[in-house]
Each structure stands twice: as C-alpha cells, then as structure tokens.
C-alpha cells in the first residue's frame, strides 16, 4: 500500500466520520463546527484530485463563507434553542433515513458505472482558450463560454441579499446591519483586526488577479476581502453602512450592470451578446471581474451581517 493510498483512505474515513458527526450531534453549534471541518476535508479531496480551482472555491465558499453564515445562525439560535423540544417522530426519521440511503445507493451505482474515460468538454475548452486570451480554462468557461451563467449567479447573490434584508423590522428599514460581538477596542480581536487586513487584502487581490491565468478568481478573492471587512467590523473598528446608502447600492449593482454593458457591446464589436472582439477578450474579461469584485465583497459580507437592526446614528 502506497502512502498516497493510505492518505486517501484516511481522508475518506475522516469525511464519513465528520458527516455522521454533523448529523448525529444534538448541539447546533457542535454540528456547525463539524460541517465546517467537513468542508475543509473536502478541500483536501479536491487537492488530491488535482483540482485546485475547485479546492479554493470549496475552502472559500463551502468552508469559510458558509461556515460564517452557519456560525452566525447558530449563535442567534442559542438562546431559544434550549426551550424547543420538538423532534421529528420515529416514522419521519425512518423515512428520511430510507430515502437518503436509497438515493445514496442509486448515486453510488451510477457513479461507479460512469463511462471510462468520461466524456468531457475539457479538451474543447482548452482548444478554444487562445481566442479568449486567458490562461485558466476555468476562467474561460466562467467568463467566455458560459458567461451568462456567471452574470446570473452574481444576480442570484444580490437577490439572496434582498431576501435577507426583507426580514428586517419595518422600523429599521434603511438602517444598518450589525454583528453580534462584544468588542473590546484594546482586546486581542482588535489587535488582529489591525494587523491582518493589510495581509489579507494583498492575498485576496492576488488570488483575484492570478485567476485569469492560474487557479483563483473573483469569488475566492472576494470571500477573503469580505472576511477582512467582517473582521474589522467584528472588532468594533468600523460599522456597516446603512442599506439605504447610495454608494453601497451603486457598488452592489455596478458589477452586473458593467457585465451586461460589456456583453451588449459585443453585438456591435463582435457580432453577438457576450462575445469579445479579437484581441480585446482579456482586458474586457478583467474589466468585468474588477467591476464584479466590489459587488461580491459587499454582497457576501452583508449576507453574513444579516438584516438591518438599528438606525444609523444621526
């Protein structure tokens, strides 16, 4: 048995154990921690499968952002949770277990019987890479071949944000979201919030910048930048802007609107919506990504922050 195989088997067992823990454990907070660990282990699996793009996304979105959202939710539930004794009955739980097991078995059967070698569009995506000017085929898929999907995904994030904001109390509409923290301006959190962001911003921008040619990209970079912003706010060194703030709204819509403007310009310059004229593909793709960056950073951080909870100080 080679070392690589041993590592793989160990990873698989750990992931199964973490998944079982996440479901079985009764305390919400513990379950969330299990889920985040599960996401990080999954990141290692993607690395083992030599898919660094997916690994980065899993770490940033699956582990980091989702983890932050879930920890926030668990913290808010903490006070009321103990009083809720409602649990599904034996029948419901058995039904859920049987259904899940059936789906898992069917999926396992299908995956094990997939054709080998698998039919793939990867060679086609790589062959056309030259006409997009970017070096990373994942970026070419996201911003050239299937750019409308990416545009619409950015819009999904905004719609989700509208949905979160719609849960605000009418009284606080137009006000500021808030993080629940007990910030001490001289504490260790504040210290980190002063030291880390300069490094984090460089890492985030770097991951965003190299995304054109190497694994990385705007979603991953945006998550890191959003985390830095949340850190500063969580330490009490800054505040969220009110949701009615004009600059906030303009930055939130700027990404998708610039994306669409460049897309529609393609009709004149390259004969189709979302087409790029010869030789200009890479600068235009970068322009779209730069415009999307603030949109994503703000939207992701504000999703974690939740609905407006207080009126801005007059």
């Amino acid at each position: 048995m080679t070392l690589a195989l041993a590592v793989d088997i160990g990873l698989a067992l750990l992931i199964l154990a973490m998944a079982a823990w996440t479901i079985a454990v009764r305390d919400t907070f513990a379950s969330v921690i299990g889920f985040v660990t599960y996401g990080l282990l999954l990141t290692l699996v993607w690395v083992r499968l030599a898919l660094p793009d997916v690994a980065l996304t899993e770490a940033a979105m699956g582990g980091g952002l989702t983890g932050a959202l879930l920890i926030g939710a668990a913290a808010r539930l903490r006070r009321t949770e103990a009083t809720v004794r409602e649990r599904p009955g034996v029948f419901t739980r058995t039904l859920a277990a049987v259904l899940s097991a059936t789906v898992t078995a069917a999926l396992s059967f299908c995956v094990l019987n997939l054709p080998d070698p698998a039919p793939t569009l990867a060679p086609g995506a790589a062959a056309k890479l030259g006409s997009t000017g970017v070096g990373n085929p994942v970026t070419a898929v996201l911003l050239a071949y299937r750019s409308m999907d990416t545009l619409l995904e950015a819009i999904v994030v905004l719609i989700a944000l509208f949905g979160v904001w719609s849960l605000a109390h009418d009284r606080f509409w137009g006000g500021c979201p808030q993080l629940r923290t007990h910030a001490d301006s001289e504490g260790i959190l504040a210290y980190f919030a002063r030291i880390l962001p300069p490094i984090g911003i460089i890492v985030g921008v770097y991951i965003f910048w190299i995304g054109a040619d190497f694994p990385g990209g705007k979603f991953q970079g945006a998550t890191i930048l959003a985390a830095m912003w949340l850190l500063v706010i969580g330490a009490g060194l800054a505040h969220f802007p009110p949701v009615s703030q004009a600059w906030l709204r303009i930055l939130l819509v700027a990404g998708p609107l610039v994306f669409m403007a460049i897309g529609f310009a393609g009709i004149v310059t390259a004969g189709a919506v979302f087409a790029y004229p010869d030789g200009f593909a890479k600068p235009l793709i970068l322009a779209i990504e730069i415009a999307l960056m603030p949109t994503l950073v703000l939207a992701l951080a504000l999703l974690v922050a939740g609905a407006p909870q207080r009126m801005p100080p007059q």
Binding site: A106, V111, A118, I155, W173, A275
Partner: protein, 510 residues
C-alpha cells in the same frame, strides 16, 4: 419525437430578443434598487411595459419564421457554449406570463405604492424588485436550452419567490417561507444531481444534443427520477404539496398571485421540457402513469380539502394544489399517444392550456380575495355578505375565474380539459377523463359556495372598511376575462404551440 432543432443551430432573426426578455427584467430590478423608494415602482412598471413589447416581438418572430427562435450566446456553439431557444411552447408561456405579470403590476400599484411621509418602505421595495426577478427567471426557464443554465434559473426563481411569502413580516409567514425554502432547495439539489449524472455519461448539457445521445439505461433513469422528483417538490405536486397552502395563503394578495399563478409553472414547465424534449426516448408509459396517479390524488385531495376551508385565501391555495394535479395528467396522456404511434400534440396542447388558463384564473382569484379582504377586513367564507353589491366587478371576476377552473365553455380551462379528455378517450385511458369530470364537479361546489355567500345582502349600516380603487378591480376582471375567453384559442388558424418542435405537423386543435 423528431426535432427540427439540431446541433447545427445558428442565431435566427429575432434571437437577440430572447436575451432581452431575460435581462431586461433584471436590469429593471438593479436600476429600481439603486433609485429605491417610490421610484422603484415606477421603474418596475416601465420595465413591465418594455418586457411585454419584447415578448410580443418574440411571438411575431416565431410565427413569421414558422420555426424556433434561437440565439447562440457569445457566438460559442453548444456544447461548449449556451444556446437560447424559443419554440412554440416557450413562446405561449412567455406571452401568458407577461400578461399575468402586467395585470399583477397594475393591481399592486395600490397595495405596494410608497406610503406617504416615508422615503422608502421595506415591503414595497422588496415586492417590486422580486416581481421583476421572478419574471426574468421564468423567462430564462422558458427559453434556456442548457440544463445548467436552467439550474441557475431555478435558483433565481427560488430566491426571488421565497421572500414574497413573508413580505408582511409576521412570524407564521416567515415559518411558511422557511418551509418553502427547504422544499425548494431540496428540489434544486436533486435537479443538479441529475444534471451532473447526465453530463458524466453524455458529456453535454445542451438539450438537443442530449436528446440525441441519451439512451434508455440505468443512469438515464436515475437522472430522470432525481430531476423530476426535485421539480415535483418545487411544483408542489401531491404528496409534496404540504408547503404550498400556508405559503400561498399567507402572502399578500399580489404576492400570492405571483406564487400561485406563475412561480410553480416554472418548475412544471421544466419537467415538461425534460420529459418530452430530453428524455423522450427514455420515459415509459408506467412512469408517466405514476405521475398521472400523483396528479389524480392531488385533484381529489386538493379539491376535498379546499371544500373544508373556512378562509377564502386558504380555499384558493388548496384549489391550486388540485389544479397542479391536472397539469400532470398530460404526462400519461401524451406518452400514451406517442407510444401508440399517434401525435401527442393534443395532450401537450391541453396541458399547456391548462397551465396558462390556471395562471390567469388563479392570479385573478387571489387578487379578488385580496380586494374582498381589504373591503371586509377578513376573508371568512361564511361571512361574505354584501360583496356583490359592493364589489360587483370583483365577484364577477371570481366567478369567471372559477368557471375556467371548473372547465365551463368557452373558458381556457374548458378547452384544456376537452383536449385532455379527448386524448384520454383516444388512448383508452377513460379513468383520467372520469377523474377530470369529478374534479370539475368538486371545484364547482366551492366556487358556487363563495359566489352564493357573496350574493347575500349586507347588514343594514355596514360600511366597507377601506375603499378599493376601480383600476384594481378592472385589473382582476381583465385577467379573469382572459382566462375565461382563452377557449377562443381553438379558432386560431395556426397551432402556435407546436411551431419549431417537429419536422412537419398538420394537426390543429380539434
């Protein structure tokens, strides 16, 4: 089923309109968000007008060319790129949804206008932004030719629809919204799993290419089962309907109209697309019969439970559960026709007409219930006295919409049931015909009860709690009339729904 759509698609005249039909609502949403407040409503209403014009232009392009309207995004051919395609089915749905959305927009001006003295209020802004988002997402569902883009469309639709449930902010509506979200997300995951399996086996997500490559084998069956189950959860077909009544009945009237009339048609349409265009060579008559049986159970359970409701909005919501059942009778009927070597167009057209006439009728009904609620301050079915004299147009609209749900001539519901029943008789599946008649009978009972109760004279000295603007009543009546007169589609010299679907087809509606 032979298709004129082939892998060698090229952008057709009018193809650009498809991109506009998807993106214009989202552009309106983004601009409305920046301006905010009362301006968001004006931006939304202007967007509705532009969007309606675009959809009419698409219909013109389809009829003029006599073939599907196609746009290749970015000039990247499928399977690498994504194509938008609008055949007859897409175009009739685009048109119907545009009409209903415009009707709802006019109605909602009164309910979701900006309150005076406030710069911006939460519920109105959210409503107008999400109304546009629902529209853009539905248009994407109707014209996308790619299974992953369709997944994005489902995601957009879910996140646009769920907050509409809890617009009024009461904790029980938040609970209904959360339950809806869980069902809808489960549906999305199952759909995505199926799409991943299909890509793993056939190496493409493009619908026409996939239709050529897909074979009846276990992986295709698994993908079909996963995707259809996911879509059933989103469409709320019995027994996955439990989320629907509280969610649809608890939302404000205009939002209920969007949810009950429109949103569920998105996932249903996608199930139709998969069944007839992707998996035509994989589906079997027994699997279609299973869907039909669930539909039958939905019709019986939905109608019987609707009869027992004491609140008007819940009654209408359970009626939606029943009407969704009719939408799934088209599967055994169309599959029965094609496995007998006959043209399945009759059953498909019947199902589509049912979806369209229900969209119009149900939107009208929920909005009528909203006006009754405003006037009375409650919506108890037992106490609707005085409504006919106070809101004659609204009660008439309710009755006309009810007639369409029952299936009385010349309504769209009548023509739909006529086509479905004739398909049932042709394929010797008489039990579906019988079921439709029983369902119509049950529906007529509760529509009749509501109308009779509202005919009773009001108590002396009773006054409406709040006056209702006439244009709101007119918008409701207009939608109800559209549904009631939709049966006139039989006079249409051209079988619009089947344009761009098969090589040659001469059968018209009967």
């Amino acid at each position: 089923m032979p298709h004129s759509l082939s892998a060698q698609d090229v952008t057709t005249p009018g193809g650009l309109l498809l991109v506009l039909a998807i993106l214009i609502p989202f552009i309106g949403m983004l601009i409305g968000f920046v301006f905010g407040g009362g301006k968001a409503m004006r931006v939304a209403l202007a967007t509705l007008a532009v969007g309606l014009a675009i959809v009419i232009a698409i219909a013109k392009a389809l009829v003029q060319s006599g073939d599907a309207v196609i746009y290749i995004l970015g000039g990247w051919m499928p399977p690498l790129g994504v194509a938008l395609r609008a055949d007859g089915l897409s175009v009739v749905m685009l048109l119907a949804i545009a009409v209903v959305i415009c009707g709802i927009g006019v109605y909602a001006r009164a309910d979701f206008g900006s309150p005076s003295g406030v710069k911006e209020a939460r519920a109105p802004l959210t409503f107008w932004l999400l109304l546009l988002a629902v529209w853009g997402s539905l248009n994407l569902v109707f014209v996308s030719g790619d299974l992953f883009t369709l997944y994005v469309a489902l995601e957009l639709l879910t996140f646009a629809a769920v907050p509409l449930v809890s617009l009024d902010g009461r904790s029980e509506t938040v609970r209904s919204a959360l339950r809806y979200l869980l069902y809808a997300l489960l549906g999305s995951v199952l759909y995505l799993l199926g799409a991943v399996l299909l890509y793993g086996v056939y190496g493409t997500l493009d619908i026409p290419l996939l239709a050529m490559r897909v074979r009846p084998e276990p992986v295709a069956w698994a993908a079909l089962a996963l995707m259809i189950s996911g879509l059933l959860a989103k469409t709320a077909l019995f027994p996955l309907h439990l989320w629907l009544p509280p969610a649809h009945a608890g939302a404000p009237a205009a939002a209920s109209a969007v949810l009950s009339g429109l949103v569920i048609k998105g996932s249903w349409f996608l199930a139709v697309r998969l069944w007839f265009d992707v998996f035509a060579g994989v589906v079997t008559l027994p699997s279609a019969q299973t869907l039909g049986t669930l539909g039958a159970a939905a019709i019986l359970v939905g109608n019987v439970v609707a009869l027992r409701q004491t609140r008007l909005k819940l009654l209408i919501a359970y009626s939606t559960v029943a009407q969704i059942g009719y939408l799934f009778l088209m599967f055994p009927l169309a599959t029965g026709l094609s496995s007998a070597g006959l043209d399945s167009a009759v059953a498909v057209n019947g199902g589509m007409l049912q979806a369209i006439s229900h969209a119009m009728a149900k939107a009208a009904m929920f909005m009528a219930a909203g006006l009754i609620y405003t006037t009375l301050g409650h919506d108890r079915v037992a106490d609707l006295r005085g409504m006919t004299s106070t809101l004659p147009m609204t009660v008439l609209a309710f009755a006309l919409a009810g007639a369409s749900l029952i299936g009385l001539p010349p309504s769209g519901g009548f023509l739909a049931k006529w086509l479905l029943i004739s398909a049932a008789i042709t394929t010797l599946q008489w039990w579906w015909a019988l079921l439709m008649l029983v369902g119509g009978l049950l529906t007529s009972v509760y529509v009749f009860i509501v109308v009779v109760r509202s005919l009773a004279p009001a108590h002396d000295g009773w006054k409406p709690k709040l006056p209702v603007p006439r244009y709101q009543q007119a918008a409701v009546l207009a939608l109800a009339l559209c549904s009631f007169l939709l049966g006139a589609a039989v006079l249409c010299p051209l079988d619009v729904m089947q344009i761009g679907r098969t090589v040659s087809r001469n059968t018209l509606l009967p």
